[in-house]
Amino acid sequence: MVSRKVLLAPIDPVHDVGLKIIKRGLEEAGHETVLLQPDLQPEEIIQEIINSRADTVLISRTLGYGVAEILARFVDLADAAGVRDRVRIGIGGMAIRPELAAELGFDAGFGPGTSVEEAVAFVEGRDYVPGLAKNNKLKIDITESYTYTCHNSVIAGLLKQIAGIILAWTENRTSSGVLRARVREELWDIDRWRKYEKMTEFLEEYPRFCGEITRDFYLKGILHPKTRRFTREEAAALEEYIKATKERMEAPKLQHSLKKPLVFNQYGTGCPFMDTGHIKVSEAWGADGVIHFDPSWGARTEGFMDGFLTHQEDGTVITPANLNRIRQSLESGTLWQVRAHRGLNTPETVVLAGKFQADLTKINISYGALGAGTDPARMTVDGVEAIRYAAKYGLPFDIVTNEELCGVPAHKAFAGMLITAALALRLGAKPILQPLFCYSPEVMVGGQMKDNYVDFNVAKVLALRHIIDAPVWPGAPIGFMTHSEDRIQSSAATAYHACLAAMLGVDAITIASSDEAYSGGPISVPSKVDTLRAVGEGFRFFGSTRLEPSQRALDWSREIEEGIENVLRQVADRGDFVEALYRGVLGSREEGAYPGRNGRDTVMMV
């Protein structure tokens, strides 16, 4: 690279802060710079350009009344003086846009939000393409740097024992969910599907393992009553929308000086079109990843339909066509999680996620059985199979602990989470721990958050870190139960929790929209922008500031760890994980956890 000589001139009484920042960036990039004093006359600046033999000039000036003429006169003088022949001149300041720079006669214009990289690119004579430097997000595997070493040998031993018990128990058991996943895995070929080739073998086998709604779809062509098929024109319009939006897209980074936590948010309006609209907005406002949120009836229905379907309620139906469309709408750097964690389609969801090249999935046997309505035996059989597919497709998955929201204490939810993590490690998958950052019934009653929301959330993360070297991804969403319908309060709550997560150095977070607490209608897209902006501002405020845990947090963390050990011992002593789920060892009826009934008595012996 040729080192340039750059003259920085504020044609302004005071405003040269921007130039000082750019000066530093240019010097770091190896260029020589001269910063002139503010408020010189245009003729004086021209003389300085000649005397300093600069090859590039950056002018800064805030636009105001009559300023355009001053700037144009400067360019005119430079032109008449002959310096334009060898000197490139850029202008920066509030309200400066490329159109205005062109009108005034400059070679480039830098408005608010210009990065130092953009200015450096101009100085180095590289093509000025607005936003190019911002649009370079790369996917990150948050599990990469973890060893999964268990530091607590007692817990390690118990987890090993329980994982063994579960694998032995599932060995001679199966379910329609497991069989359907196998048909999907073996007989459904994504390339043939994309080419509209008829997969007769799949179509013969698959409906046999489906429930009534999906069987009716395949055999009689009846759609689920809450869904409709898109029109051909709608599909074409969507493609056009995605194409045009991608061309204009920038994917900014929210984390300021940090690399993590990655910021995820959910989509699942019911309609893949609206989802696409939401996803593009999330990406454009800095989300690193998006999570597919399916309707609640999806967890209770055996099997998936196909087709490009929209749906009238919360959650977007999983069908190959819907996943395919959504996948195609994503920016190349956006992480995509298809959650599978809780219902009767868990293993098949992982297969589809794998075939459509999702980056992450979500599985938790305990939560699915205790908080999400699936029968514990069925959930265990299906969960283990799902983990096998996650390992096969190299899909890391988070283990959500939303049973805490029912009232299950953190240590019990964590014991369940660690059991699923132990199974994952045994089967070669990469688990991610997902403690809730929430105002849970446990703390509402126990008073752990009477003073602040910080200490107990810190205690949870410390406890998990003390047990195992694994990635931590608080969720889902952070700040659960602290949000209100007021978007300012809601965004602030999300931002505070996000900053706490950042200060703890966790790997990722899932954030809600500011409509989180509003139940009167679908989540609106501006509400997603609200929280992304709030989180970005929080990250900017704290930067790499770290948090010193309080004594209370340390004490609670030890209590949680002891509690986990105690629960795991009870599960191990019982010698039967499924029975432990039924009996409330990992969350009891009194605490608000009810063993699910969907899929009861559907586990088959082989």
Binding site: A68, A72, V75, D76, L77, D79, A80, R97, A101, L104
Partner: protein
């Protein structure tokens, strides 16, 4: 036939450059005339880049030649067949040259440097343009030196003080009427240098091309008694211009500048005219290597009135008749209010340049 190039220069934003350009385009619409158009600014947009007020838009007929930044092409309804790429970069992309294939509205942002405008005018000439119009930008005048002559657009947007307006317009008229084609002694052709010579054409001193620093006046003052002529290819600072007129040069001194715009830029029209007056008082003369005649003045009573309380602009007007009569008294070229008088007179005035 030689291509005639005319610059539509303004004294400020919103002085009516685009309105004058559009009026001429409309009036000269004739299959027999090949029109070329470009802009050294940014014209034809819906609202002003600075004030946010609505702007006149430019309509181009099929067959017109254009030179615009590539970024402008999708912004209008006109379709342009690109014939050549110039490699000239602007904040809105590379300048491309082409012909309008389907008439329509067009945003024009072209070359904003003199040397680039020169290349574009050359291209238009080769393509057989009969008349090329160069729409100006704000108060920019330097690139206009590349044209055969200018139409000056001025009015309330520059200043609502009519006395000052007429005085400045008068000054510009005087400077643009000074002769061009001035010769300098053969030995004075030193690339990029100012040169002082004696009555026999012998070089006395070589000076910087830009007379901006006090040192050069000192150098000249010792030689003033012998000097017969001074040539400055670049700019002179207002202070130096003032000092030059006060040096003890002998009577009949010749001052040669590159073109009228360089002199106007050296401190503004009033300072430049005062200099010309002082030189003539001492039997001297101011001449240019290249002349730039003023063909006509177009006046515009409109101005964006800035509201400090609300930080925005509102459309406002001064008295139309008073404006026209004042300016008519101050210059020796035709004066038009294009909106009221129509484009005929303005187009007729172009004949004086041919």
């Amino acid at each position: 036939m030689k291509t005639l190039t005319v610059g539509i220069a303004g004294t400020a934003k919103n002085t009516g450059k685009t309105t004058a350009t559009m009026a001429l385009l409309e009036y000269l619409r004739n299959p027999g005339i090949c029109i070329g158009i470009t802009s050294i600014g940014y014209d034809g947009e819906r609202v002003d880049n600075v004030t946010g007020l609505p702007k006149p838009r430019i309509y181009l007929e099929a067959g017109s030649l254009v030179a615009v930044s590539e970024g402008c092409l999708p912004a209008g309804s006109a379709r342009v067949k690109v014939l050549d790429r110039t490699g000239i970069k602007t904040p809105l992309g590379e300048i491309v040259c082409g012909q309008v294939a389907k008439g329509g509205l067009m945003v024009l942002a072209g070359p904003n440097q003199s040397r680039h405008l020169r290349e574009i005018l050359q291209w238009m000439s080769v393509q057989g343009a009969d008349l090329v119009m160069v729409d100006g930008a704000l108060n920019r005048v330097a690139p206009m030196a590349e044209t055969d002559g200018i139409i000056l657009c001025t009015g309330a947007s520059y200043t609502t003080d009519l006395d000052r307006l007429s005085l400045e317009t008068h000054s510009l008229g005087v400077i643009c009427s000074l002769p061009g084609g001035a010769e300098i002694p053969g030995a004075a052709h030193v690339e990029g240098k100012s040169v002082l010579w004696n009555r026999d054409g012998v070089i006395l001193a070589e000076l910087p091309g830009l007379l901006l620093e006090a040192g050069c006046v000192k150098a000249m003052s010792c030689l003033a008694g012998e000097a017969g002529g001074l040539y400055c290819p670049g700019l002179v600072s207002p202070a130096i211009l003032e000092a030059l007129a006060g040096l003890p040069f002998r009577e009949g001194m010749t001052y040669v500048f590159e073109d009228p715009m360089k002199l106007v830029l050296s401190g503004g029209p009033l300072t430049a005219r005062r200099f010309v007056d002082r030189v003539s008082q001492r039997e001297g003369r101011v001449v240019f290597r290249k002349s730039l005649p003023l063909a006509a003045v177009a006046v515009n009573p409109f101005y964006p009135c800035y509201r400090y309380e609300t930080n925005h602009y509102q459309p406002a007007f001064i008295d139309r008749d008073l404006l026209v009569s004042k300016i008519k008294c101050s210059v020796n070229v035709p004066v038009f209010d294009v909106v009221r008088d129509g484009p005929g007179g303005l187009a007729g005035a172009l004949k004086s340049l041919a």
